[in-house]
Amino acid sequence: MKLSLTTTIAALLASTLMAASEEVRVYNWSDYIDEALLTKFQDETGIKLIYDVFDSNEVLETKMLAGSSGYDVVVPSGAFLSRQIQAGAFQKLDKSKLSNIGNTWDDIEARTDVYDPGNLYSINYMWGTTGIGYNVGKVKEALGDNAPADSLALVFDPANMAKLKDCGVYFLDAPTEMIPAALKYIGEDPDSKDIDVIKKAEAVLTSVAPYVQKYHSSEYINALANGDICVAFGWSGDVLQARDRAAEAENGVEVEYAIPSEGALMWFDQMAIPADAPNPDGAHKFINFILDAQNMAAASNYVYYANGNKASEPYLEEDVIGDPAIYPPAETVSNLYVTTAYGPKAQRVVTRMWTKVKTGQ
């Protein structure tokens, strides 16, 4: 008994000591990495990796603004990143510690420059579009062969939505994604910060709200894959993951992703290091590991999102780099738009409107 107690204590002490050795805490989006990379990082560097996930920028931002999140690397999207930089949440990257920095893609960096001038604080992890994921068979059944699956009219025209209601429609629970899309649908500037313009989105969103089964930002992957729902307005790679899960399950569900012809939001998820990161050195090592062309390619091949790593292209599988839903051709890209952060006042209008759309209150 005594002996076992001593061994237990010894084991506990050993594990605490191990914990005291170097560790890196990463906070990234859910379903956003090939988990084999996590083990690979630990094997290569000997650093213990703690990997947590979130499914909304809002959750991440609250942790950042509260301070002392304990994370070393976080992955906010563009507009959120720029506000968090303004709040002083991040430290400048020490690019001398990033030997793979040359792998980045200048086209993407030119675009992320809007959020992080000079790309001083962040490096692109992945980027994608927000569009329409749909169950091919069910949408055809509900709307006939000429279903406008590649148009915002599919989700914002009440006549279409009324027919889709019974097979189930999910929207992202993210006003910063849905409001610009609704504004685009009615021909307004999707990035408008003018409160009167923003309010025009309300009528569009309210008119289809009775037909939306749920607003949620991650459940739709499984719901689409299982055939529980027939349409989801969501993120490109998530829909493509649903497509693959359905194919693997051989359940007769066929999922497709369409970039709306009216234009779609192009977003960027950026790796950054919190100002109070406990292990900034380890954080740089992790970012450098991800910047490695083969590692980045492995992640993209796994999650079906395009990345900001030019050097990774030769390692990308054909069904990733060759898929126009993931790497859209130049003419589609020219039709994509970006959004910037709302100020506090517009933000309040946006959130209030979103609650009103969702709950009818």
Partner: protein, 296 residues
């Protein structure tokens, strides 16, 4: 001295774990939001001394409470939360009381096992149990597949993402909190009271209403509080099982905190929620005390 020490323990507990946190939340409710870490202003800087403290106080105001008053969303959310909590408490009581009664009536040697069965679900994480309900209630879930298989229904029932699913989740989760206190009072009930009632000519039903029901009141009250209070602020169950039209204050609080990053307004919502819960409880206790005094 020792007596004072012993008496002071619960007060210290109350001050450390209730009053101080409440003070912090209340102070936050009087602040303004800002894009900074933390996302509000002013923050108390102790080095500023007394002048700094006065300056700090002068920046606080009731603006956020006025904001709450102007938008009826908040009142509707409070009302709807209280309503959901009230209905759930009632339903939990209707299901829980017979369960507790059955347990107390069961042979002594079974009681430990029955008790175990009530407590057993706690051994699984609450979150996993709610996720299990998502699997049971979804359109392609067990329940619908079973009903379709038996031929009772022709098309899947839409249960998940509705208020019905929220009620199912809440009642399932909170049932033990109702059963256990009621069982505790019923189990202590002296059976000779019931024998006396029957000797005096009561039927079994009359004896139940004249003896068992009033004597089980403390357990019922405790059970109702244990269910009602947490359900009002419930967030996880409605967000996982409920639809977008399920309006509860927990969700509104979440939006204020996360979407608007407006900690001050979120704190004001929390302060009002606390008042809504605490004031009726204080009134109830006062009334109980008066009733007890009247009896003695």
């Amino acid at each position: 001295m020792r007596r004072a020490f012993i008496i002071s323990i619960p007060y210290l507990w109350l001050i450390a774990l209730f009053l101080i946190p409440f003070g912090i939340v209340f102070k936050l409710a009087l602040s303004d939001m800002a894009i900074s870490i933390p996302p509000y202003t002013p923050t108390l800087d102790i080095s500023g001394g007394w002048a700094g403290f006065k300056d700090f106080l002068s920046q606080l105001d009731m603006e956020n409470f006025i904001w709450l008053k102007e938008d009826n969303l908040y009142w509707k959310a409070y009302l709807s939360s209280v309503q959901i909590a009230f209905v759930s408490t009632l339903l939990t009581l209707l299901i829980g009381f017979p369960m507790a009664y059955g347990m107390a009536q069961a042979p002594k040697e079974w009681q430990a096992t029955l008790m175990m069965l009530i407590i057993l679900p706690f051994w699984t994480s609450f979150l996993i149990r709610i996720y299990a309900w998502m699997g049971i209630l979804s359109n392609e879930g067990f329940l619908n597949q079973f009903l379709l298989w038996t031929g009772i229904i022709g098309a899947p029932l839409q249960i998940i993402n509705t208020n019905l699913a929220v009620y199912i989740g809440i009642i399932y989760t909170y049932l033990p909190f109702m059963v256990l206190p009621i069982y505790a009072t019923l189990e202590k009930l002296d059976p000779s009271y019931l024998e006396a009632a029957e000797d005096l000519g009561c039927s079994r039903t009359q004896a139940f209403w004249a003896v068992t029901a009033p004597l089980s009141k403390p357990g019922v009250v405790a059970g109702c509080f244990l269910v009602f209070i947490p359900v009002v602020g419930e967030f996880v169950i409605p967000s996982l099982l409920g639809g977008s039209r399920t309006l509860m204050i927990g969700k509104v609080l979440w939006d204020e905190f996360f979407s608007n990053r407006d900690w001050p307004v979120a704190s004001a919502v929390a302060v009002i929620l606390l008042l809504i819960l605490v004031i009726p409880i204080i009134l109830f206790q006062k009334q109980q005390e008066r009733a007890q005094e009247a009896e003695t």
